[in-house]
Symmetry: C2
Subunit: 304 residues, 2 copies
């Protein structure tokens, strides 16, 4: 089980290489949506997403790694490539062949080699394990690793300082690495603050899992515009943290996710990914929520 | 002639209603372009552009106005609408009928009435003067007004504090309201800092005017993606300030403007207008420039 001290240690460890991202607000957007909203701007993080935090924390805990390998739809790949650059070792990232060209190019721009031949969402972990054996590089899991979860949680330490009056946090859920880190911090320091996961309607495996009390897998790669949360199931290590600390999971249809993304671009003037729109979705849906709500803007690696 | 004390007074006057916008930086972009760049983020200003500064300063100097009228391709309209809202008087904005729907909608969202029937870039000032007579409202010129110029100059007071090491400032030039305000401040406080105007290749009336020593008008509305600088000539009041304080004017073709806009969206994760890309254009063009360059990001009222 992830604990607060591990997140505090991660925060110290990664601080020299990571931005303390700002919290953005807009009175116009607040008036439009009838809430006080705090946007934790991880699209302004190194590599353009929060994934740099977890990847770097995991990498800095390794003893003389020969190289790093990542399995990722994109942002974790850039995080691992960034971490490898800091450690001055090679990075190899395994991406589905249909991952966005922007994300592939970005991983390469951070100095990684991209491996995508014949890779699908379903087979990518097996491919990566084989590559790890062949190369002797260390595989850094995108979410099911306590060091990664601790790294992602560091953004919540900042958020609680930056928006001390908040009553709830909305977090997009894929494998659960981000929300397990965030929930660990929030429930240790401010247990009255609600931690709310958000999933696409077509990819509600975390919601089903929490309801069933066991990890439920999607039968196949889900179709959703929120490309950062297309994982088939939450992790073995993230699930118990979610069971203990996450208050509820809400679902959002893709059309609302895109509407929310557009609204963030129009009103905040920020370039954000569809998955960042997903986290704002519940506010647009009219789900009952407290008045002062933080939205984790998970990334900005997207172009019109 | 505009003077520093007028800009200082404007700064005091408008401060309660205006954001002190941040200066954004990106090490990645600096490395890519070989400069140290400071982006003065006026797309994050109230109304999404610097125009709120000048419009508000002019409006706050009026004695009990009955209402305000603006002639504008868009951003000044929103600025005047915003100012009218603060004064609690009506706003009427005259826009070319082919102005972007986003800008019309935004002016209406700020409570203005939009007048665009039969309005063109060429006849809009005459239309506005007629409307002013009919309604008794006060016309606020988009640039050729010392109070407006003083308001725009307030951003330079902030910039010099926020980026004290800068050696040059790049400013898009339309009618010259922004650059005359900025140049007045910079040359009063830091005369060694270069003030460089930027125009589209197809709309280089300011460059021609400074070379000729008299105001040169474009024969017709120029075709350029930089829609905020489609004015036919610089102003009677802005021109002498530009003659005294502007070091040089550079021109940029539209394709470079769009490339620069895209780069700012990709690397800074900010939604900016094409005209903001125009100001960065000279860096991409390889024009000889000092090492530490500020770019005025004039606005963000644009959507993909």
């Amino acid at each position: 089980m992830l604990t607060l001290p591990e997140v505090l240690a991660a925060s110290q460890r990664i601080a020299p290489h990571i931005h303390r991202t700002p919290v953005l607000t807009s009175r116009g957007l607040d008036a439009l949506l009838g809430k006080r909203l705090f946007f934790k701007a991880e699209h302004l993080q190194k590599t353009g997403s929060f994934k740099a935090r977890g990847a770097l924390n995991a990498a800095l805990e390794l003893q003389n790694p020969k190289g790093l390998i990542a399995v990722s739809s994109g942002n974790h790949a850039q995080g691992v490539a960034y971490a490898a650059g800091i450690l001055r070792v090679p990075a190899l990232v395994v991406m589905p062949s249909d991952a966005s060209p922007t994300k592939k190019a970005a991983a390469r721009a951070y100095g990684a080699e991209v491996y995508d031949q014949g890779v699908t969402v379903e087979n990518r972990e097996a491919v990566a394990e084989k590559l790890a054996e062949e190369t002797g590089y260390t595989l850094i899991h995108p979410f099911d690793d306590l060091r990664v979860m601790a790294g992602q949680g560091t953004l919540a330490l900042e958020l609680l300082e930056q928006a001390p009056t908040l009553e709830a946090v909305l977090v997009a859920v894929g494998g659960g690495g981000l929300i397990s880190g965030v929930a660990t911090v929030v429930k240790a320091l401010r247990p009255e603050v609600e931690v709310i996961g958000v999933e696409p309607e077509t990819a509600n495996d975390a919601q089903q899992s929490l309801q069933a009390g066991r990890r439920v897998s999607l039968p196949q790669a889900p179709k959703t515009v929120a490309d950062a949360v297309r994982t088939l199931a939450v992790g073995e290590r993230t699930f118990p943290v979610m069971q203990r600390h996450v208050d509820r999971i809400l679902t959002v249809p893709d059309e609302v996710t895109l509407q929310a993304q557009r609204l963030m671009m129009e009103r905040l003037k920020q370039v954000v990914e569809p998955t960042a729109g997903l986290a704002l979705g519940p506010v647009l849906m009219g789900y009952p929520l407290p008045q002062r709500v933080a939205v984790v803007v998970c990334g900005g690696n997207w172009m019109p």
